[in-house]
């Protein structure tokens, strides 16, 4: 099952397309290459097509067009029960009439393997379920059921393990614990994990690579750090964390190579953005800055980290979260932006609402997005 031939067994989706009979195109011309052994996350809001993609890889859904390969092997039209792929289902889909051990042994037994009990014993130990082996799923807690679902899939040593919102049904604390647990297991077994989730924090903590999906297409793919610090679209900027998007006019481009920059007029202040962080060709754009990169200081006191600078903002709201404080700032041009400030204690209190403040951020943190995109795209309702 593993790499006897020495060649890589990357999962490759090419031109994958899925249109339902009612005309709805759930996935549109998806190209994706997932390196063998990586922990890959498909992140997106519900209805974005991530689960459909997963189901096509599992063989539970037939693509309208495109191919799916593992290494050289074309599995596009392979029956689900013949694919070297296993799934951890949302809500687990454990067999209610079978014991935990029988659930775990289900796959190997169907393949007619020998020595199934020993394998099951091993995997139950790995997932810390030895005590539960003879119970029925209904007698287990949510976290335990989740581990059974994982064990039931892992025992088959699939080349690709698909996880469909595997932690969605757990409470926050358990979810955190399981995130670490899943990551540990993935590192231990070294399989390719494809993890589908709508929880950006979950995707970022666990995955090596994250693909953000929206409306059937991949908006951007990269490491969590790349995605967060340099989003290419307003959707990614808003869906992964939060962003302040401020209208700006491109004045011109200067320099070349790594030093190339774009100058943007933002309501009278000219800001400079590295060309690598500019994702638009047009003359207008959204200047994006993460709230935690925004620094404030009451008018008249110096800001110790100078950068792009604005005066005349007013604090219109603040919420104290303990570790940090979130300020709402009304900018001189009438837009509200958000600022997260670490409560380092340096300030010795909060900035009261109504205070006039100076605002600044370091130019290297800003990014420029296409102004034709919706500035509200990807904002999650809380």
């Amino acid at each position: 099952m593993s790499l006897a031939d020495g060649r890589t067994r990357d999962l490759r989706l090419a031109g994958l397309h899925k249109q339902y009979p009612n005309g709805f195109a759930a996935v549109q011309s998806l190209d994706l290459e997932i390196p063998q052994g990586s922990f890959f996350a498909l992140l997106g809001p519900s209805g974005c097509g991530k689960t459909t993609t997963l189901r096509m890889v599992a063989g539970l859904e037939v693509p309208t067009a495109g191919t799916i390969h593992i290494g050289d092997q074309d599995i596009t039209h392979e029956k689900p029960y013949k694919r070297p792929v296993n799934t951890v289902f949302q809500n687990y889909a454990l067999f209610p009439h079978l014991t935990i051990a029988e659930n775990v042994e289900f796959g190997p037994r169907r393949r007619g393997e020998k020595d199934v009990s020993a394998q099951a014993k091993e995997i139950l130990e790995l997932t810390e379920l030895t005590e539960q082996a003879s119970k029925k799923p209904a007698q287990l807690s949510g976290g335990q059921q989740q581990r059974v679902a994982l064990a039931r899939a892992l025992i088959n040593r699939p080349e690709v393990l698909l996880l469909d919102e595997p932690l969605g049904a757990l409470d926050l604390k358990l979810r955190r614990a399981m995130q670490i647990e899943l990551k540990r297991i993935q590192e231990e077994v070294g399989l390719t994990f494809v993890h589908v989730t709508h929880d950006q924090e979950e995707a970022m903590t666990m995955a090596d690579t994250v693909a953000v999906m929206n409306l059937g297409v991949i908006e951007q793919m990269g490491t969590p750090y790349e995605l967060y610090t340099n989003p290419r679209t307003t959707f990614v900027a808003n869906f992964l964390g939060r962003s302040n998007l401020i209208k700006g006019t491109v004045l011109g481009r200067e320099g070349s190579g790594a030093d190339a920059v774009v100058k943007v007029d933002m309501h009278g202040t000219v800001v400079t953005i590295s060309a690598a962080r500019v994702h638009t060709e047009s003359s207008e754009g959204w200047v994006g800055i993460r709230p935690e990169k925004v620094l404030i200081q009451p008018e008249g006191t110096p800001i110790d980290a100078p950068g792009d600078h604005f005066s005349g903002a007013v604090v219109t709201g603040s919420s104290y979260i303990g570790v940090s404080t979130e300020y709402e700032l009304l900018m001189p041009w009438g837009q509200e932006i958000t600022c997260f400030e670490q409560n380092t204690g340096r300030r010795g209190g909060l900035v009261p609402v109504g205070t006039r403040v100076d605002v600044s951020w370091r130019p290297e943190f800003a990014f420029l997005l296409d102004s034709s995109q919706d500035a509200e795209a990807g904002i999650q309702e809380t």
């Binding site: 599992a58 454990l94 067999f95 009439h97 289900f106």
Partner: protein
């Protein structure tokens, strides 16, 4: 329900049980006592002058000795009909539960639709279908699937066919109820875990539908073994079931004690068979 319970106060449990208890008391317990005492009465009496209760247990010996072939025949016919119902009903219930889509409700209504006409009328219409000069027999003869002097009506085949038809809905409904409860995700999970369609059915769908199978077979077998309409309308004197014998002892024979004894034996045998069956099916906790 909760509102009702509150309204009835703390003794709601008793009040809720009360009407059912009264109903059972009047319409089950008392007739049972009547039946039992009749079955132990002296058959020398008559319906007009009454039977005296003499603890005559020989009635039971008599009916078993005289009428055991009717009991055997009843259970054989009911057994065959139950198996046929299971095969027909399972495929249909499966189709309704998983494949019918928006036609689900319509199909369920169609399954129940025969109940809108009387049992008797439905069985009588089978006489038309199976008639010696009817289209079915004629067709079978034309196709040489049946000898020239062959017939369907007044044969065991007709009786079993009638039983199968009449009790099919009792099989389908519980089967549907338990199939419908099966999460389609389980089927997908099994497919994902290397189970081909046959293994998926055998290892997942079938075991999960067992409560329906047990319920359906009981609801079919029990009334089918006691049925007499099918044998009486579609059978011949050599295909009479125990229900027919009880009926003719009671009416033509005016022999209430033996009729009652035979009824009690039928009832006891069914209860014993059901208990053995349920235990062997291992579904006590599912029932």
């Amino acid at each position: 329900m909760a509102a009702l319970q509150r309204a009835l106060g703390r003794n709601s449990a008793y009040l809720l049980v009360g009407p059912a208890a009264l109903w059972l008391g009047i319409f089950f317990v008392i007739p049972m006592i009547s039946l039992l005492t009749t079955s132990l009465s002296d058959p020398a009496g008559s319906p007009i002058y009454g039977y005296s209760m003499t603890w005559r247990f020989e009635n039971y010996v008599d009916v078993v000795a005289d009428y055991w072939p009717y009991l055997v025949r009843s259970f054989v016919y009911a057994g065959i009909a139950t198996v046929l119902c299971l095969i027909l009903g399972y495929t249909l219930a499966y189709a309704i539960a998983f494949k019918a889509g928006r036609f689900k409700t319509l199909m369920l209504v169609l399954v129940v639709a025969p109940f809108f006409t009387s049992f008797l009328v439905r069985t009588l219409s089978w006489k038309l279908i199976l008639a010696d000069n009817g289209w079915l027999v004629e067709t079978l003869k034309t196709l040489h699937l049946m000898p020239e002097d062959g017939r369907l009506l007044a044969t065991p085949i007709a009786v079993v066919a009638g039983l199968t038809y009449n009790f099919l809905p009792f099989m389908i409904l519980p089967l549907y109820a338990s199939l419908e409860k099966i999460d389609p995700k389980l089927n997908e999970a099994a497919a994902d875990l290397y189970a081909n369609p046959f293994k998926r059915f055998w290892n997942v769908v079938w075991p999960l539908s067992l409560p329906g199978v047990v319920g359906g077979t009981l609801l079919t077998f029990i009334p089918a073994s006691g049925d007499y309409i099918n044998a009486s309308l579609l059978g011949n004197p050599n295909t009479q079931m125990v229900g027919n014998r009880i009926q003719s002892l009671f009416t033509t024979g005016s022999d209430y004690p033996h009729a009652a004894a035979l009824s009690v034996i039928l009832m006891v045998l069914i209860v014993v068979m059901v208990m053995v069956y349920v235990r062997r099916a291992g579904t006590e906790d599912l029932l």
